[in-house]
């Protein structure tokens, strides 16, 4: 008996799991993936075929020179702790990466990207070292200010330490910003003006001779701040920069050679046979186009080329260049982190990669507008006053138009392009990158529909993460009126707020970029629309003044002031504060504090609210005795996670559920000896959170579900003020055999479909965990099959079939965004990290959709056949009856 029951459970789990795997021919049908390499840090064109890049995302990759496609890509350790410090491209690609004392030296095959060799070492000294790689020797330099530098050299291929650590007495090393490595030399300037000295010493020679030259004698004396900077991709070359004019020095054992050109400090060298070419961009070009200057180092011939490259993000840096005769290939990086390959002398752009999309900070899905035809049908019902004849005429007219469109094979639609489809699966995804560029992506293909660069702005830093809040002020539903979205950012220099409003469908900005004269503390989208279906944006400034944009929303706000509440959570002050707006007048809006919650010494690590568009279909859960346990669905509930250092328990994670209107703590729980990473998912009447259990060294998931009880205190309306009884929490915890990087619950139009939790794992998989697996079983139904509870298993399985990105790993996931389709069963998902991955998930399978392989023809033929057969038999039967009657 028990065995069969057990078998039933397994079968049940199997049933749950089987619902979301993919057939092989469905690959790429509902999903797309865009691969990126990240923000390029180092780049070298190694031959005429490829560019080797190392990026801030701790990625090393090779791009095709022909089309910019990724030939190979290797994602290394977590970029927050490890960075590539050195990229050397020779016969093989050598990288030095790491951080915090642990360093990995790796050799890669430049054509396939496979790892040839690897060795690592650990340094007690956590200081960031300097590296020199020359003639198969890797030199590791740690300067000690005012005293000496420690030099350790290794054989780069096997890590054999060649001799002991050398110490060279360098009392002139006083400030690391004045020191650099240039080729094999360690070099410093003593002061930041012309009176200083230039010191350099060869790191590879055993003599350790230090050369000293007065800067004056090298570049003459003139007032101005002097800096030194090594020349990228140049050996033993150094820039001495004074007032943004750089002079190139070639360091030699005897005395440095100074070239007589005024350069920009972003110049690079390119080898052209035995010639060396200097390339630099010219800042002030008269046209908007990029201009590149080339200088032959020995002869001094200068050429200026105007490139066919425009990018409003600003002047591009040259990362690397290679020349063959007169033809040059130049690899450039723009301020929006996009990289391009330019060709000289033609000035053409071979390709551009939007690497900014590897650093997405905000995502929002937008519904597309109706096609013209559908809109005309909608408009039929707009005029209520119309008499019978005009409505009849309208109807006939639109029908004829519809017919014409059908007859013309839907050409009209494809011309318009971005229109809403029947099931609302086609959307536009607005994406904001860390570099300040906004992109509109087509959800069907991942193509960039529009992009817009915002100069001099950056996202807010919230809990150590960049964040750009996006607010949907008006959706595309109100046809002649444009959809509107607002993005809030801050000025890079002043820190003042910047509001950018735009049409998410076309990317056109609505009005100018609004530079607000204050810093933004928090913002909120008003729940009420004005007469033009526009939702106002409420912004609280740093001195707690409240503004609303556009001003037309002000009367709406004043009308509903008593029902709008606001809260701020200070990550530094550790105080949560609630506000109401009832004291607002037409002249000034006022936020009055209503409640406070003092976290004390605990660190705020996450605040989460339910998605505002979420609908809860079922108001309760049915118990085994067929009574109902009503859910406590509080739309104003905030989930707060704090972490506090504790002398006994090391770190304590506290989870609070707080009513945002009254400040009442509805539920609180503490987990001892646990730590980051903590992720919260708050949906319906439940909360799921993940944390690292330091005691058992494992990740755990915990769930809390709130129930009102067997009766609903008020069945019509919910008010946070009316506290008739506190909800009953049910909790449960699970061992999670993976490391979550991001978590989110699926969202569907009406909330009828089951909920799944999407969890992005550090392994690159994004897995779906059904809520039914996580649901707290509670005291009401332990081990009761009739209730539909799955029996509790402490360790959650992560079946391979539950991976929504099948075999396409998504490294370094930063977040997940979901949006409901108009089809109840379907939820659209965008996972963003280094790559972008879009797919659809159907937590309850596609119950509202016919199967793809549904045989329409067969069923039609069968039906027609049956009808025909019934008529024939009817006839035959009547004839037979007639014959019988004559007998």
């Amino acid at each position: 008996m028990i065995a069969t029951k057990n078998f039933k459970y397994i079968f049940l789990i199997y049933l749950f799991n089987i619902s979301y795997c993919l057939y092989e021919d469905q690959i790429g049908k509902f999903d797309w993936k865009l691969n990126y390499v990240g923000n390029v840090k180092f780049g070298t064109i190694d031959s005429t075929k490829r560019v080797i890049v190392a990026t801030e995302e701790n990625v090393i990759a090779s791009l095709s020179l022909k089309n910019g496609q990724i030939l190979w890509r290797q994602v290394l350790e977590n970029p927050a702790l490890n960075q590539i410090e050195l990229l050397h491209v020779d016969k093989e690609v050598i990288t030095v990466s790491g951080g915090k004392g642990t360093w990995y030296v790796r050799g890669w095959d430049s054509s396939s990207g496979s790892l040839l060799w690897e060795w690592s070492f650990y340094m007690e000294n956590k200081q960031r070292p300097y590296w020199i790689l020359s003639k198969g020797q890797l030199v590791h330099i740690i300067p000690v200010l005012g005293s000496h530098i420690e030099i350790t050299s290794y054989d780069v291929h096997n890590g054999r330490n060649n001799g002991k650590t050398m110490k060279i007495s360098t009392p002139w090393v006083t400030d690391l910003s004045k020191c650099q490595t240039a080729g094999v030399y360690w070099t410093c300037i003593s002061t930041n003006d012309s009176s200083g000295q230039l010191f350099y010493t060869d790191m590879l020679s055993s003599a350790n001779q230090v050369r000293t030259f007065p800067i004056q004698s090298l570049i003459g004396s003139a007032p101005g701040h002097i800096e030194i900077k090594p020349l990228e991709s140049g050996d033993s070359n150094l820039f001495l920069i004074r007032n943004n004019v750089a002079r190139l020095l070639k360091l030699q054992p005897e005395a440095p050679h100074v070239y007589p050109y005024s350069l920009s400090d972003k110049a690079v060298t390119a080898f052209n046979g035995d010639q060396t070419l200097l390339l630099q961009t010219i800042q002030n070009s008269p046209t908007n186009k990029l201009t590149i200057q080339t200088i032959e180092l020995q002869e001094g011939t200068e050429n200026v080329f105007e490139m066919d490259y425009t990018n409003e993000a600003g002047v591009a840096n040259i990362v690397s260049a290679v020349c063959k005769g007169t033809a040059c290939r130049i690899f450039v990086k723009s301020n929006d982190n996009s990289v391009s390959l330019l060709q000289l002398p033609g000035g053409k752009v071979s390709w551009t990669r939007e690497e900014g999309l590897s650093q997405v900070v905000a995502v929002e899905f937008f519904e597309l507008p109706l096609s013209e035809l559908d809109a005309s049908i909608e408009h039929e019902f707009d005029s209520i006053s119309g008499d019978i004849f005009s409505t009849f005429y309208n109807r006939i007219f639109s029908q004829i138009r519809q017919l014409l469109v059908v007859l013309s094979g839907q050409q009209g639609d494809s011309n318009i392009g971005m229109v809403r489809d029947e099931f609302g699966l086609h959307k536009i995804i607005v994406v904001v990158t860390a570099s300040g560029r906004l992109y509109g992506l087509d959800s069907m293909s991942g193509n960039i529909v529009w992009s817009q660069y915002l100069k001099g702005v950056e996202g807010f830093s919230v809990l150590g993460k960049l964040s750009v809040p996006l607010f949907v002020q008006r959706s595309a539903r109100y046809s002649p009126l444009m959809a509107q979205c607002a993005a809030l950012m801050k000025d890079k220099i002043t820190g003042h707020g910047v509001m950018y409003t735009f049409d998410p469908i076309t990317g056109q900005s609505i009005g100018n970029i609004e530079r607000l004269p204050y810093q933004i503390e928090q913002a909120m989208l008003l729940p009420y629309e004005d007469d033009k279906h526009m939702k106002g944006l409420l912004i609280m400034s740093d001195n707690y003044e409240v503004m609303v944009y556009p001003s037309s929303a002000k009367p709406v706000l004043l009308k509903h002031a008593s029902s709008i509440f606001f809260y701020t959570a200070g990550s530094k002050s550790k105080i949560l504060q609630g506000y109401n707006l009832v004291h607002s007048t037409t002249d000034s809006l006022k936020a009055t504090p209503t409640w406070t919650l003092n976290l004390g010494p605990a660190d705020l690590i996450a605040v989460n609210v339910r998605p505002s568009s979420e609908r809860v279909h079922s108001q309760g859960r049915v118990l085994a005795d067929r009574s109902v346990l009503y859910k406590y669905v509080n739309p104003n509930l905030l989930a707060i996670a704090t972490l506090m250092d504790d002398p006994i328990h090391k770190q304590v994670l506290s989870i609070y559920l707080v009513d945002g209107v009254t400040g009442l703590v509805v539920y609180s729980a503490a987990h001892k000896r646990v730590g980051k990473p903590v992720h919260l998912v708050h949906s319906e009447n439940w909360l799921v959170y993940s944390y690292y259990n330091a005691r058992f060294r494992r990740m755990e998931l915990a769930t809390v579900e709130l129930y009102e009880g067997p009766t609903q205190s008020n069945s019509t309306s919910f008010s946070s003020h009316a506290v008739s009884q506190l909800p009953h929490p049910q909790t449960q915890a699970y061992i999670f055999p993976g490391t979550p990087l991001a978590m989110l619950a699926t969202l569907t139009e009406r909330g009828i479909t089951n909920k799944h939790i999407l969890i992005a794992l550090s392994s690159g998989a994004v897995t779906e965990v059904p809520w039914a697996f996580l649901e707290p079983r509670g005291p009401h139904g332990t081990m009761n099959m009739e209730e539909g509870y799955i029996p509790y298993i402490p360790e959650l399985p992560i079946p391979a079939e539950a991976t929504i990105n099948y075999n396409q790993s998504i490294p370094q996931v930063r977040g997940i965004q979901v949006a409901p389709a108009r089809l109840e069963s379907t939820c659209l998902v965008l996972v963003y990290g280094l790559d972008l991955f879009y797919t659809r998930v159907t937590p309850s399978k596609t119950f509202d959709l016919l199967k793809e392989d549904f045989d329409h023809w067969l069923i039609a033929i069968v039906l027609i056949g049956l009808i025909v057969a019934s008529y024939i038999t009817k006839r035959l039967a009547s004839r037979k009856a007639l014959k019988l009657a004559w007998k």
Binding site: L597, L664, N714, I735, Y792
Partner: protein, 227 residues
Amino acid sequence: MCLKFVVIVLISFSTTAFSSNVEYDGWVNINLQHSLTFSDKPVFTDRGNVTIQSLRTGTAVVQQKPLTQSDRVKLRDLSATNEFYQLKSTVTLADGSEISFLSTVKACMLVESELNDILSVSLDYSGRVIAITLAVASTSTCEGAVVPIDKLKEFSTSVFVRHTENGPTPDTATYIQKLEREREAKERGDVKDNRSFLAKYWMYIIPVIILMVITSATNPEGAGAAR
């Protein structure tokens, strides 16, 4: 009506109140001040004192003076105009430091409950006060209410100390026990099917009976003739 809800709240609050896991017991003194004129710059006047003698058990002593006539009028007006009643609670900890908390309720709800209110004192895991919230037990809100002034005599406040409970942990022990039990059951061999004969074979008996019933129903004559 209201009393009933108070009872409900009492029960639900108190169930959480005694699941204490505070490691160190202590006392807390809360000074209550309220603002009877709702403005954006509230003026707080003294309302009373609450002393929680033991955080662990949550026993509290409430000292509140009856409202003066002018305060009653103010409160009634506040309720009639559907304004908010604000409470500022200043906590004096055992070490003498002070933290103040703000809380707001609808004045009409407070008045309708005849000044029966609930003071929820939330503690974090170490027993530090993180929030003090005033609440009124009710199932619905109100939009202004006029209550005779003689009903607003004195606050009767119930204080609930609400501890942070220990979060759930994966329940491996019972699961292993369950597996163990199942294994044992398996070893003992399959359990005999001890259901009754009818319960086991009803699906075969019923068609036969139906058949009999139908045949007897269709030809009663035949049945009669047979007899």
